[in-house]
């Protein structure tokens, strides 16, 4: 009985299937390619991982609350452009400029929330509009040519190297732990899940769903903006196309990590695993010398497999519960 409950609990975890696929790929490909499981390869993967994972983390939190954000790719560009303009053109201190860049991102999140909730427009549509508007803002405020990242800009505390790793990975770990704590251990976390699972029931329980969703929208945008700043500091350039198409990748990461499109399901850990799985898949395809024309097919197929497995494990967990009840 105890072991059955344990299995059920394990299978019920939203990130279980992606973790299983991840371990399967890790073990299989370690035998197939001797250059896969080495520190140099993981150094390459982990350099960009925090940026993608931060966006997926924000999307996951928002999806748990039952909403969606397609504008994260554009916010990913707006925030570093605002930051860099403030640093180069207005000579603001880097920290103040970053905070204002994140404020701009947060403001976009707030507008998304306002349009979605007050006008009762599906977030898919509201944030689709914002995707275009924010990208346009990124081009307009920079005149198409954002300022160059100054060579002497002190960015070590954000993207510097610590042996094989980038400092940004520690920022990700810290932020993910905070998000996990908030989601799992606080009242607000419970409200997020309740709002996503059944907003009307949540309202009846006295939860201010408008406030909950607004905070989730703002968090999602701020995390996307922060990720954009990290990336532009790492590659030492800001271009208006930063993050183009990132929204679909982030949503895919969240879904592969177990977040449900209908809301109420997901976890911070799942977002990290989902993003890592997609990064590993990308890496495996490159190392396997998969022909360029087949690349997107392979990524797409693996996403579908991951989600099918998610559904399968969830159904299996549900069946175990039914047997217990009998």
């Amino acid at each position: 009985m105890f072991s059955k409950n344990k299995i059920k609990s394990l299978l019920s975890r939203p990130e279980f299937s992606s973790l299983a696929i991840f371990l399967f790929l890790l073990i299989t490909f370690t035998f197939v390619n001797d250059r896969f499981l080495n520190s140099r390869n993981f150094m390459v993967i982990l350099a960009t991982y925090p940026e993608l994972a931060l966006v997926a983390l924000g999307i996951t939190i928002l999806m748990i609350s039952g909403e969606f954000d397609l504008s994260v790719g554009s916010v990913f560009a707006v925030s570093p452009i605002v930051t860099m303009i403030l640093i180069v053109d207005y000579e603001l201190h880097i920290v103040i400029a970053i905070l204002l860049g994140l404020t701009a991102a947060g403001f976009i999140g707030f507008i998304n929330a306002l349009i979605t909730i007050k006008f009762k427009i599906p977030s898919f549509i509201a944030t689709l509009g914002m995707l275009f508007m924010a990208r346009s803002i990124a081009v307009v405020i920079s005149g198409g040519f954002p300022p160059s990242v100054p060579k002497d800009l002190p960015t070590e505390w954000l993207v510097g190297r610590v042996d094989m790793l980038r400092v940004s990975i520690f920022w990700l770990i810290g932020i993910a732990l905070i998000c996990n704590f908030v989601l799992k251990k606080t009242n607000f976390g419970s409200w997020v899940y309740a709002t996503g699972e059944n907003p009307n029931a949540a309202k009846d329980l006295g939860i201010n769903t408008f406030k909950v969703k607004t905070i989730c929208f703002i968090t999602c945008s701020v995390l996307a903006g922060f990720a954009g700043i990290i990336q532009s500091f790492r590659i030492k350039t800001v271009i208006t196309s930063l993050g183009a198409g990132l929204e679909l990748q982030a949503i895919a990461s969240a879904v592969v990590g177990g977040a449900a499109l209908m809301g109420g399901v997901g976890s911070a850990f799942g977002a990290l695993i989902g993003t890592f799985l997609l990064s590993i898949i990308d890496n495996i395809l490159i190392l396997s010398r998969v022909d360029g024309n087949w690349f997107k097919f392979a990524v797409g197929a693996l996403i579908v497999i991951a989600v099918i497995l998610n559904t399968f494990t969830k159904n299996t967990a549900d069946k175990i519960r039914l047997k217990d009840d009998e």
Partner: protein, 322 residues
Amino acid sequence: MNIMKLFLAMCTVVLISVPASAKYKFSVLTQVDTSNTFWQGIKRGMDDACEMLDVDCQLVFNQENGNLQMQLTNLEVLVEQGIDGISLVIVEDTMFDEAVQKAIDAGIPVITTNVDDSEGAEGNARLAFVGQDLYQAGYELAKELSKQFPEGDTHVLLGLSAPGQNWAELRIGGVRQFMEEYKVANPNKKVTWDTIDSGLDTSVTGQRICAYVQGHPETNAYFDAGFWGSGAGECLRDLGIKPGELLMAMFDLVDITMDEMDKGYVHLTIDQQPYLQGYLPILQMYLMKEFGLSAWDVNTGKALVFPSDVKNIRKYIDMGVR
């Protein structure tokens, strides 16, 4: 009431922003969206020509990057409106044939810019092409970089930024053509190459190049269909790869490419001079309308740029004209 006032104010802004004195109205149509850095250089050239000639110009970006049907619809609308001249990009060989023919039949001059029908004038009724010979540019890029290939076997990675789009296929096709010839010309060397979908994002492309190179350390050189490969500099340094250990060649002049040339990680690029691709079609269309002159082809993309050229070129990049 307030919404009505806002609407009227917006209409007023739109109306006063259109120069009333403009004799001609020209439009430039692209398949990319506003975020494309390269196209800002074309826009700068177009804006300067339009200001100088006092004509009314509009660069019509796509709402969705690469959506050719959207671009075709924009073209058809402009032809119906009876615009005075159209400059456009053709990245697909048959889709625009009918609409361009219709424009020409209606007396609207059409000049392709940046990317042309792969069959040139035989494949489309457009009057001239201002841009780079993409296939030839890829060939020249590979030919020039091959002078730096090390002794012994050669393994090359080709970054096909956008599989299926003819600009990327043509450029990498040109590189491949040279590699075939190089292989035949060097029978004692083992010459091999792989092609990956390198992507259209600096960070993604950089990561894919580094993942490949660390997995295949025999790689000597990398060719990118665009400029995105410059994003590999950071992770190559992370991997401890020294400048020159991996030869890299790409297209276009952007900030990050110049920086990596300074650092020794990008060894060659081809400047297709986007400013001219915006400027010259407007000038040609003006001359055609004003003096009945005919259009002429211009190959804007022969300029090979080496790291030693960066210092002189950078000031023009900062001005947004190169």
